[in-house]
């Protein structure tokens, strides 16, 4: 099993959710987060003087999936969240040791 964590632009959340639903993903967890990447935030003008916005608002999506569907999931997120502009975000993939459905006690791929 794999845990796919994607950091995306907030306005792309609906597109990503739809794309994941279409390929049969059963559930996702969404968190509003802030952070910076290579650009290190950006500057704004206030009364003619610059100020730096260090941390930009992003959305973090976490999806637990079977290993077999990993490529499909990555492709769906990449396609849906892509604008071609700086700040589109990143996808991190980690190995998931175990998953348990609390209600039934099912484990492993049955639980996701």
């Amino acid at each position: 099993m794999k845990l796919v964590t994607a950091i995306i632009k907030p306005f792309k959340l609906d597109d990503v959710r739809e794309a994941l639903s279409e390929i049969g993903v059963q559930g996702i967890t969404v968190t509003e987060v802030k952070g910076f990447g290579r650009q290190k935030g950006h500057t704004e003008l206030y009364r003619g003087a610059e100020y730096v916005v260090d941390f930009l608002p992003k959305v973090k999506i976490e999806v637990a999936i079977a290993e077999a569907s990993l490529d499909q999931v990555i492709e769906a997120i990449t396609k849906a969240a892509n604008t071609g502009k700086i700040g589109d975000g990143k996808i991190f993939v980690t190995t998931l040791e175990q998953a348990i459905r609390i209600r039934t006690g099912e484990t492993g791929e049955d639980a996701i």
Binding site: E44, L45, Y46, R47, G48, A49, E50, Y51
Partner: protein
């Protein structure tokens, strides 16, 4: 019958003073909201405290001695409570129905006292976020009880400047106080800012200018609209009479011109800001509307509506460049008060002779220099004394913590505070 008409005229002109005074009083709310919006959240309670307290101090000090210095009234308003119907009627008969207005002395005091508070409100914004509460209030006592009444006496009071020269005779005219109220407040603010220094973090070691965004732009916008509304009392009331057709028409023109100058100033600042900064800067738009109002305040009764709009727009353009320039000079003014009221107030004075034949350019210049020099130097001395005795600036740690907790012990927006 004639006497009853004179009594009615007295009632109308007194009532007009009182309503306009109440409108100007409401400007205190405008300043409070504007300043609360343009400071950081951690300094909100303290700036509100300053705004309410300075208004109360102005009311008391002007009663104690200010009105006496400025208009030769009694100390503690001694005698203002007396009502003399025979005197009212004889004055009215002597002036004639369309002559100078006759009104209650109490209404005159009420109308004048709110102007003092306006001048003092200008100071609080410029020195915000770093000046000690009690040092500020101590300054307010001297400013409203002595510094402002002195220059008020030389201008509206008609008294010679230290017995040397008379501004009225030189052709100085300031209808509702672009110079007497607004530039005076800004001069006191500038003196304070120079001794106080910039907020920590505002300017970098290599001359960089860092923006410190205001915490609540809806409040700043509300404050600007409140000031805009109050200004109808400020300028409209300064016609001093409503009770005959010519005066009523003059009042209407003043309202019209005041409003249109604000509109011109707002749009000019918005457009200039868009070209300079690439985006529509709301705070500049707000300052632009106020700049338009300050510009027209020196003479709202003689310009045509179009001229008034253009004058306001000139103020709106000037205020943006002034704010940017003051920042380059490292004069830190969180709300732009020195630019809006001082620089633009000066412009307003200089524009008076364009439409008012009763004033002269040289008279305006001498008047402006007199007001500025007096208020600036007197304020500098008072600030310096306060600085030497008590200190006027909070410690670096307190500034970081925020004035709210340090001075007032309470946050303006406590839900956002982590326990």
């Amino acid at each position: 019958m004639e006497n009853q008409i004179f009594e009615l005229q007295y009632a109308m002109d007194t009532f007009y003073f009182l309503v306009c005074g109440a409108l100007v009083m409401w400007m205190a709310a405008g300043f409070a909201m504007l300043e609360a919006g343009l400071v950081r959240a951690k300094n909100t309670t303290e700036i509100l405290t300053k705004n309410v307290a300075l208004f109360a101090i102005a009311c008391i000090m002007y009663l104690v001695c200010g009105y006496s210095i400025m208009y030769d009234g009694g100390i503690f308003l001694n005698g203002i409570e007396a009502f003399d119907l025979a005197g009212v009627l004889s004055d009215s008969a002597a002036n004639g129905f369309d002559g100078g207005s006759v009104y209650s002395g109490a209404s005159d005091f009420f109308f004048q006292v709110v102007f003092v508070a306006t001048a003092m409100s200008i100071v609080s914004g410029a020195v915000a976020e770093r000046m000690k509460l009690w040092a500020f209030l101590a300054f307010a006592v001297v400013m409203t009880g002595f510094i402002y009444p002195m220059e008020g006496a030389w201008t509206w009071g008609g008294v010679d400047v230290f017995g040397l020269y008379n501004l009225g005779d030189l052709g100085f005219s300031d209808f509702a106080g672009s110079g007497i109220v607004h530039m005076a407040g800004a001069a006191a603010a500038l003196a304070g800012v120079l001794l106080l220094g910039a907020r920590k973090g505002k300017y970098g070691p290599n001359g960089e200018i860092h923006a410190i965004p205001g915490s609540n732009l809806p409040l700043a916008t509300l404050g600007t609209f409140i000031l805009w509304m109050g200004w109808f009392g400020f300028n409209g009331g300064s016609v001093l009479k409503l009770g005959d057709a010519a005066s009523a028409h003059s009042v209407a023109m003043v309202f019209l011109n005041t409003n249109t100058a604000a509109a011109g100033g707002a749009m000019a600042a918005l457009i200039v800001g868009r070209f300079l900064f690439g985006k529509a800067d709301l705070t500049m738009l707000l300052n632009g509307a106020l700049a338009g109002l300050v510009t027209i305040t020196a003479e709202p009764s003689t310009p045509t509506a179009l001229t008034a709009t253009i004058f306001g727009a000139m103020g709106g353009v000037l205020v943006v460049f002034s704010i940017v320039t003051l920042d380059k000079l490292k004069i830190d003014d969180p709300v732009g008060a020195i630019s809006v009221h001082g620089v633009v107030g000066f412009l307003g004075l200089l524009l008076v002779p364009v439409t008012n034949d009763g004033s002269s350019f040289s008279g305006q210049l001498i008047g402006a220099v007199t007001i500025f020099a007096w208020v600036f130097v007197a304020s500098l001395i008072v600030w310096a004394i306060l600085k030497a005795i008590f200190g006027i600036r909070v410690s670096e740690e307190d500034e970081y913590e925020g004035m709210d907790i340090v001075d007032c012990g309470m946050e303006a927006y406590p839900e956002f505070v982590k326990s």
